[in-house]
């Protein structure tokens, strides 16, 4: 562990060199490479969804319900010609193409993962810095965070979802709220350890205003652990979204998300397992890849602060 350049204490090497070597170290880490490549592939698939031989994921076709993977259908084009379309992953009980739904579903999952990660880091960073730096606010803020963390994450998300109409924003907020306290704790711990450092004391002595101090001296120290934390939050957000949608309390059921496709396939699972199988594979693969990326980044960028659970 101690031989790793990235793990060496900050003051031993000048900052720019340390950063560059940490990034190089991360790019050499096998789990960063594998995880990163899979995440990129899934992101590319979702972005290029309309060009990947998909049809409208919301198109309902009563005549072509519950088809097994590989079933072919003749489509009449606008200009009167006919063409064949193969339902690679079969169709669901409304006749929608599961392949198209799975590919488009990646968009929603990734958007939710990235949005929740970015927002919870931003909110957690602000609250955590306030708690770590303004001493009299520390107690009250941390008590609220302790309370939030005492509620199991999925239950808290379910409680928040029940407060409003189902929708993308409601789901994002519901997944976000249980994640924020973890970021707050992390940032607060970093701030508390940084404020004892000689260079921070020197800055205080020089009369640096608190906002500048936080921005220039404290913020840079939080970047590496927060990048690691963001990947884990992204993975867990994608999972929780799928769970909520699967339980029928997440994104409205007509929107193609991996959780919704599986929720739709539940009733006929015994006969048509593909409705659960294909989105399940994509979901598991995406979460696995992001977790691997996070594990690798943690080992190389930040072995001190970022801990799971």
């Amino acid at each position: 562990m101690t031989t790793d350049v990235a793990n060496a204490p900050a003051e031993e090497a000048p900052a720019p060199r340390r950063k560059a070597s940490a990034i190089r170290g991360a790019l050499r880490n096998p789990s960063v490479i594998i995880g990163g490549v899979i995440v990129l592939l899934i992101a590319l698939l979702s972005i290029a969804a309309p060009r990947l031989g998909t049809i409208d994921p919301a198109e309902i076709n009563p005549a072509f319900r519950n088809k097994k993977p590989g079933a072919e259908r003749t489509i009449r084009n606008d200009d009167g010609t006919q063409s064949k379309y193969e339902h690679r992953f079969g169709t669901d009980s409304l006749g929608r193409d599961v392949y198209s739904r799975v590919i488009y579903g990646g968009r929603v999952s990734l958007i939710i993962g990235v949005t929740v990660a970015a927002l919870s880091i931003a909110i957690g960073l602000i609250i955590g810095m306030i708690a770590g730096y303004i001493r009299w606010l520390d107690g009250p803020i941390m008590r609220v965070m302790d309370g939030l963390m005492a509620i199991p994450a999925i239950l808290l998300a379910m409680g928040v979802v029940s407060l409003s109409r189902a929708g993308l924003m409601a789901v994002v907020i519901a997944i976000l709220i249980p994640e924020v306290p973890r970021v707050v704790r992390l940032v607060r711990a970093i701030v508390l350890s940084i404020r004892e450092e000689p260079y921070v004391e020197a800055a205080i002595t020089l009369g640096t205003p608190t906002p500048v101090l936080l921005f220039r001296h404290v913020l840079p120290n939080t970047i590496a652990p927060l990048i690691v934390q963001a990947t884990f939050i992204c993975a867990s957000a994608i999972l929780v979204e799928a769970i909520l949608s699967f339980l029928g309390i997440g994104i409205p059921p007509d929107v193609p998300t991996w959780g919704n496709i599986m929720a739709e396939g539940r009733s006929l699972f015994r006969v048509y397992p593909h409705n659960i199988l294909y989105p399940g594979i994509f979901l598991a693969l995406a979460v696995l890849a992001i977790n691997m990326l996070g594990d690798g980044l943690r080992d190389t960028l930040d072995p001190r602060f970022a801990k799971r659970v």
Binding site: P152, L163, I243, M262, P273, V287
Partner: protein
Amino acid sequence: MFSYILRRLAATIPVMLVVAILVFLMLRLTPADPAAIIAGDNANAEQVAEIRKRLGLDQPILTQFVIWISKLAQGDMGESFFFKKQVVELISDRLEPTLSLAILTIVLAAAIAIPLGVFAAYRQGSWLDRIVMGFSVLGFSVPVFVIGYLLIYVFAIQLNWFPVQGYQRLSQGFGGWLQRLILPAITLSVIYVALIARMTRTSVLEVMNEDYIRTARAKGQTEFKVLVRHALANAAVPIVTVVGLGIALLIGGVVVTESVYTIPGLGRLTVDAVLARDYPTIQAVILLFSLVYVVINLAVDLTYTIFDPRIRY
């Protein structure tokens, strides 16, 4: 020791109070008027006002909180909007399946994960170690319901070894109860096994280079006893800690697993309550699960003295 227990118990009170305040505020943040929900669609304004008065919703918010929390202390969680029953009754009806599933899962997970973790640490870098570590990353990533349906498909539908779904009360026979709980318990234990095995491996690895391990080997102790009595015993504290923290994952998993296997437990009740916007039930379930989580972790802290006599309170 006794004063420590008291102090720790006292320390959980502020946390639970914050949880209670958050859960209480939840109902105030709802866009809908609870009185109107209870009254139903055909009620007139007077009936709604009457119900609002009966529920105390016309009082100032602080008074409402005091009334709510003192009722809670007496075990009165209010009446369910949707089931039209006392929430306490509703919960006690659903307790057995959830408790059965949770206990079976914890036992199963510990029985699988701890030996796996110890072996992975003992043969660090071997293929077994790599499989265990790979499995633990996988276990964190594959969603509970995907595992659930996979197991149903293979073991219940293809092989026909277990009933597909459902639950049978313990009072109707142990065999039927166990048979219906095995697949759900395996499903739920996957993520828990991943968590515990990983922690066991890490904390056993940490003690394997200690002097007392070498001494134990030098005096001719068998490897099994070295591992169990010296390594595992000294690595126990972080392992029980993670078992306690994992309860949060377990509770989340219970909700999903009960839905997959149609088990009429608290998790299923939670989903139904959220779907029906049945706020008293949602509040009660969140409070109950949080209390369980906090109390179990308190209990785990208190077991430290058993596992490590050096810790004295």
